[in-house]
Assembly symmetry: C2
Homo-oligomer: 625 residues x 2
């Protein structure tokens, strides 16, 4: 980057000379002052849209008369320095051209190309670019007069081109919508686009097509808004919990404890080796080696048997049989060899794997939930929360679940089911209010382009009270629903499906509902058994159009009952000894909940598929970066 002249306005966003577009636009809407009008600033961003307006042909200006040549340039007319050399040494834009043309400036071919460009300057034009740098929904209008700043239209106009430019902020002519624009004096950098390969060259690609380009899609207005809202919800989460005396605990991602008992999990291993070129190849195990070698030895044996038969002059029949046998054994050897060399392993029975030799000396998984680990900190420090990625190896495609999702978990000692419900509701409302307060520009964009009702819904959810009904009551309501035929026939004990929940919140209550006291069989083993012996102290917070966003519970603090529940769920007790310790020593009533963070982003943005709100989605068959 060029060193800046002293009068360039410094950026409030540090660690870069540029001024964010947001700062400029917000400054210019202030009635109190004239904002940034008249200031010289550096602005960087990517072209969202552009147009070129041809000027009436005039005699082309000499390139050396452009303003950036004025300060410190070699005196005009110096004969021993070629025009090209002056340009090379002074104007970063031309350096960019040289780079783009594919060579160093000193190569004769490039020099020729460059001279041909300069010899025939394009007809003068004005380029109007809408530049966006991700700081705001809105873009800044950037005006480049090719008579003043030489530029190749084909290079700077395409959508996605990166431009870093210095100029003066001016008030546009009265008929413009925008209140400020940048009149460019100097272009500091251009990052071109290969238009035929660039996925965003086509206008308004639908969201599902954008999923194939997770690394490019944040350049769209929608995904940029989603990212800003997501980041804001993230900070809101930490703010809420830290302000309420919760400590953040980073629970482990790799675990040997299964917190749910009925989830498909990913295994973490180093047994499958790496196709690394730098490492010594991880050999076939001894056991594997033996089998092939032993068979080869057997063949050798058999060959000698055949020889022996031949020597002893046995009848042809026996010899033929022996030869056939040898051939078969050879075939067997080939089969085993083929299997070991090319037929790949598609599943290894876990009983056959020596997990003692794995990195952790035992089978280990990606965590499904951090709540069990979090409990150990709650049972020492009171109020704790965690916020991190959780994993489920579900193969079914869904708009609400993918393999890797971020989850907020909270756990509170000396608290009961109602406390967890209250905390979850307050936290959820806090998030809704936060988005309305802090992301008004993005919400405006969403209302216009994605979903008109989101802001209204967030406002309603932030301010209304939520109905609390027991599972039993919800079953009664659903059984009375004569206007709706459900796929799953409902009776007490059956898990509520998406269509049941949708009926309750979308049709019946028309607002968020908290359902509590579930049948014990449909909730994890650690949920506290109620006095009826049939239900457990679990709850779910169900949100219209989304479904369950929060699941929570009071944990079983009684050692004997927890122990029984582990047996009932047919879980390996060894795995839970550490967890039982929390009841063995200084047990305490405690409760907590998990919030699906990606679902929270979904409902805040009015989108309908989590794959559009997660930066790099991982789902069955899909993890391409």
């Amino acid at each position: 980057m060029e060193s800046q002249e002293p009068n360039v306005t410094k950026s409030p966003l540090m660690y870069s000379n540029r001024v964010p577009v947001k700062t400029i636009l917000e400054g210019s809407t202030s009635d109190a002052d004239t904002g940034f009008i008249g200031m010289t600033v550096v602005v960087g961003g990517w072209v969202r849209s552009s147009k070129e307006v041809r000027k009436e042909p005039v005699s082309p200006p000499s390139p050396s008369s452009s303003p950036q040549m004025a300060a410190g340039a070699a005196p005009l007319g110096t004969k021993d320095v070629s025009c090209v050399e002056i340009l090379q040494s002074r104007i970063p834009f031309f350096r960019t051209i040289i780079r783009v043309l594919g060579g160093s400036a000193s190569s004769p071919a490039v020099r020729q190309k460059l001279e041909s460009l300069i010899a025939k300057p394009p007809p003068p034009s004005t380029f109007f670019l809408q530049i966006n740098d991700g700081s705001s929904v809105s873009s800044l209008k950037v005006v480049i007069d090719s008579a003043i700043v030489p530029v190749l239209a084909g290079q700077i106009l395409p959508t996605g081109t990166c431009v870093l430019a210095q100029g003066v902020l001016e008030k546009p002519s009265a008929d413009e919508k925008q209140t400020i624009e940048l009149k460019v004096e100097k272009i500091l950098h251009v990052g071109t686009v290969e238009q035929d390969k660039y996925p965003l060259s086509r206008k308004r690609l639908p969201l599902d097509s954008l999923r194939d380009y997770p690394h490019i899609r944040p350049r769209t207005t929608t995904v940029a808004s989603v990212t800003r809202i997501r980041s804001s919800l993230d900070f809101a989460t930490h703010t809420f919990f830290q302000n309420h005396g919760f400590l953040h605990v980073q629970v482990p991602i790799i675990t040997t404890t299964d917190p749910e008992g009925f989830c498909e999990k990913f295994q973490v291993t180093t047994l499958l080796g790496e196709p690394s070129k730098k490492e010594a190849s991880i050999g076939v195990s001894d056991a594997d080696g033996v089998s092939l070698e032993t068979i080869k030895a057997a063949i050798k044996e058999k060959s000698s048997l055949v020889e022996q038969l031949e020597r002893t002059d046995s009848n042809r029949e026996v010899l033929a049989a022996a030869l056939q046998d040898l051939r078969k054994t050879n075939e067997l050897a080939k089969q085993v060899e083929t299997r070991e060399k090319s037929k790949p392993v598609t599943a290894v029975k876990p009983d056959l794997v020596n997990f003692n030799a794995d990195f952790f000396g035992q089978q280990s998984y990606l965590t499904v939930s951090g709540r069990l680990h979090l409990e150990s900190y709650a049972c020492a420090l009171g109020h704790v929360y965690s916020f991190g990625p959780r994993f489920q190896a579900k193969k079914i495609e869904s708009t609400k679940h993918v393999a890797e999702m971020w989850t907020v978990e909270a756990e509170m000692a000396f608290s009961q089911l109602e406390d967890a419900m209250k905390c979850a509701e307050d936290y959820f409302k806090f998030l809704c209010r936060w988005i309305l307060d802090k992301c008004s520009d993005d919400m405006e964009f969403i209302s216009k382009r994605i979903n008109k009702t989101v802001a209204h819904r967030l406002e309603y959810m932030a301010s209304s009270s939520y109905d609390k009904i027991s599972y039993k009551e919800s079953v009664e309501i659903l059984r009375k629903a004569t206007d709706k035929a459900f796929e799953t026939q409902l009776q007490w004990g059956v898990p509520l499906t998406d269509e049941h929940l949708s009926y309750l919140v979308d049709d019946h209550y028309k607002r968020p509902v908290i359902i509590y006291d579930y049948p014990k069989a449909v909730k994890p083993f650690y949920v506290r058994l109620n006095d009826d012996g049939k239900t457990v102290a679990a709850f779910e917070m169900v949100i219209p159009q989304i479904g369950t966003v929060v699941t929570g519970s009071q944990s079983e603090e009684r050692f004997d009952i927890l122990n029984t529940r582990i047996k009932e769920f047919d879980l390996s007790k060894d795995q839970y000894e550490w967890y039982l310790d929390l009841r063995r020593h200084g047990t305490v009533e405690h409760s907590g909940f998990s919030l699906g963070f990606d679902l929270m982003v979904l409902l805040s943005t009015g989108l309908t598929d989590v794959r559009d709100v997660i930066p790099f989605t991982r789902s069955h068959g899909k993890a391409n970066s």
Copy 2:
């Protein structure tokens, strides 16, 4: 929990009736008012220490005269309600006893036990407990008069016992250090301890022994302090970046891209199956099945060959040989069977595994670094950061590295090496200052008990300026170091080892140093090549007594050079196509860095081993929860 009387002071920590110890202690040190003295509150926590003081024997008071019986109790002397029944129905403490004695109150055995307890009350004592709830380094003194609140000493005195009690806050007698204590009127819950099994029954277990009890150790003062400092640094991180216009991006944990090129990685798979009892067993693959079956078929063949030989009246020698052959093949079959049944797979050559059948249809890993993914968001939205777990499958034990560590990564578009160095330094100083400002109690404890110099060092690091030297300069300094003989002989191009770095910051500069412009071979492929063609725009921030805490770089924004570097590193180009897209379309100068969060906690707490500051450490052979 019992419903509270209306005069109980409500907790400022919501979602629990209890008042945190910190609130009480801070309220009582205020000079402006008398704090909480005289108020009735509920306090919960775990016993840190205790003593029992026997009173002079007096005539034992009738249990029914205890104060908690006064309000709403059945009139004294009612004959048809036994004393035990009144106690059962009114006093939660006795319900706890009943629970602890292992039965329901109605069982005759329990009733007998309980009556025997009441019949012979223990001699009156005063119990003094120091109760800690994790909100503060300090504990609250809790005083229980057994004459007023009947309690079993053996049950409530052991370290680690959980107590939830209601009482009045009083000023202790003048000779006490503490300014406030709780005079208990009612015990709401007791969670007992199995003393012989409780790891913290032994006083002051060293930190390395505590590592075996990650679920219990947050109950120690040291690990509780570490947790509070860690949580505070966490919030400081989000505060710093959000205040500087960075967006938080949750980069993926599961990845198919290797960001370093020379790290040992964990594989994520579903091929190894699960030993789940609920799922259909994942079968041995066809290939595996074939081998044993085929051998069995071969044995059958051979048996018939032997029969044939017997029938054809061959000579004994041939028959014996054939029998021997059969025996050998049988042996082979047994070997294969044994291998498949009990000899476990210890390593599978990756070439042999069909990753098309794996969950993601290809080999996938736990991420080593999120910077590559983060770049794609920087190249759209400007300033971004991520904060999450990163993984390396290094088998070497170390006090500075384990398998799962949390890392903060920042990436800035339109920025260069110096910008990243400046941002990293500011962020680091912000963290140091934050800890000094927000965690003064914990820092005081650390100064007293762990490390006297930490606060001073944090103060110094927050306020001093850091030397910036090139790798070349650092090599020159080290080569001139005549007072030190290094294990690795230094010459340009060699990576700096821990002992080199230690010499530079601990002996030579005696303060943090930033080293930049490293030889290109010792840094990842994506670091920007300097004009000398030999060095790259990387830097490391090295901290006295800790080592490298931050690594950063300007990324290579030039397509051709990046492409060449990928080839030089012998990396699979396919894997990096998406990453190259960021240079193909609208490329931009950008830089960033990673901070090892666990190391930051280490230097803030004065501890020396990361395994003491990570909640649940994962390292080679160790992941027991």
